[in-house]
Amino acid sequence: MARNPVTWLGSPTFPKAAKAALNDTQLRQNLRKATGTIRERRAAAVTEMTDWEQLRVAGEQIKDDVLARLDTLLVELEESVTARGGVVHWARDAEEANRIVLDLCRQENASEVVKVKSMATAEIGLNEALEAGGVQAIETDLAELIVQLGDDRPSHILVPAIHRNRSEIREIFQRRMGVELSDEPADLAEAARVYLREKFLTTKVAISGANFAVADTGSIVVLESEGNGRMCLTLPETLITVMGIEKLVPTWQDLEVFLQLLPRSSTAERMNPYTSVWTGVTPGDGPQSFHLVLIDNGRTATLHDSVGRQALRCIRCSACLNVCPVYERTGGQSYGSVYPGPIGAILTPQLVGDMHDPQAASLPYASSLCGACFEVCPVRIDIPSVLTHLRAEAVEAKGRTAESVAMAAAAWVFAEASRYEKAQKAGSLARFFAKDGRITSLPWPGSKWTSSRDVPAPPAESFRSWWRKNRCQK
């Protein structure tokens, strides 16, 4: 089987990548500023809602229902889209999905396509596959455009260029668009408007993702801010939408929950500027040819894991990234995947589906398990529980390692009180490494711990021996 492009080929494991990122002070400053801003704004947007918890619970339940009835709902969606003039395609993996989209572009003789920001197409590496097939994909979302023009990689689910500040964006735009610009955000937005206008008006094929698909009506929903989505969804003759099979909701009514949860969780707005809903083809309005590509790419394998499958409830809001202390310091690119942050740490390894892949297996450790991600998740994904569950899987996949041998030795020591006491006595000797009550450097294997944190010096006497001396009834 081909490798899943959800992780970038050749990415180092998370600890290695994070170490490099932590030395980038500009990156840390940009992220601190951006995540700090959005955290405050999100909190305000959510506090305003007296029924936020009830909405979260409903969101969780609707998505769990989707996962439980996924086969029937997908067939229902296929029927309703087909009945309204759309064509539904199924793809088992990234390679199959990319081939379907490339074939559709060739059918339309398109050498250029405009794209609405989409995680699904980023996950399958569609742009690269199209390019290899002679079709140029033009990203039209402002942040995606910044990444594309900067020959960069994304670092956030919602704002892929979050690691860039305004003066860096100005530099990229000036270099690639050949214009003089200030670093005022309004000026930068205007530059993108001018740069893309002609493309929107002339390109015949557009590619989008989907935030939601309504099974019973066949309606597809895309939320956006800039209007680039509306351009792509309205002006071209052919529209190809690529979506993960879990992006369903059963009924139109269910959208009332997600249209309240998603904007407040992602951009901290009561509602995002534009939401487009279309059902198949509407004569005289919008693209007259519509294709929906449903992709699995590791989702059905994830569905098999009773603990891990809740990651498939994710609606890609990125609230968990914005509150994560690890993400804020390491940035998104350290995760080596289009899905960074807490959700990426549980989704990416499951989509890869191979805990023997050292990079994927390192991701569940990219967390301090503080739980902030669970608290803000609009569909109540218990990310910390899935992280520890996946850590156990990673350990199991590793087999016999220094760590597992040490753990086995510890188990043997703990099993017998006398062994434990002897070990404690020996352990208390470690206090000779201490300075001011802390040990900052131990010889190997203890150095593995002390390279990134201190250990408190062990006391000269253990509690057990103190108790025996002072309290024990002889």
């Binding site: 997908l74 408007r193 801010s225 509602m271 059902t279």
Partner: protein, 194 residues
Amino acid sequence: MINTAAREEILARIRHANVPAAEPVVRGYLQQGPGGVELFAERVADYRAVVHVVSNVPEALTSLQGKRIVAPAGVPAEWLVDGVTWLREPLSIEELDQADGVLTGCAVAIADTGTIVLDGGEAQGRRALTLLPDYHVCVVRADQIAASVPEALQRLEPTRPLTFISGPSATSDIELNRVEGVHGPRTLEVLIVG
């Protein structure tokens, strides 16, 4: 050609996962809200849209910015005030792109979120009409304002092409702060007939 082998395999994998049935959905969230013209006006203005509560539409339209304004089918004759060149369908993409603005009605509005919803019906036209001109004037009748998102969705027909509009085009892509004005209309003016 549709790949039926892929379809069958994906469906079989899903069935094989054997996910247990879920708890019934509890809709304990609010179905209604305070609603009303005042709240709607306030929430629309929060997006830095221009809002007027008016009693007479033609009178309010005399201060339209721009000379060449698109008017979709179904716009009431009295809205087509003098002093403006009204552009009527059929219009090409180029003609729309060069228009100064567009005047529409709406299908539904949402007080809670300050949103207007277009469904391509009466006085709204196809989606491109409200997208290419840089200035969008939307007339909202008080009885079209739903209090909440749930109420608004109930009033809408999902199979029509729908556009939910909350303020002018904007982006949060530069340092995660909202900036108005990217590809969609950069000026949104909402006239509420109260």
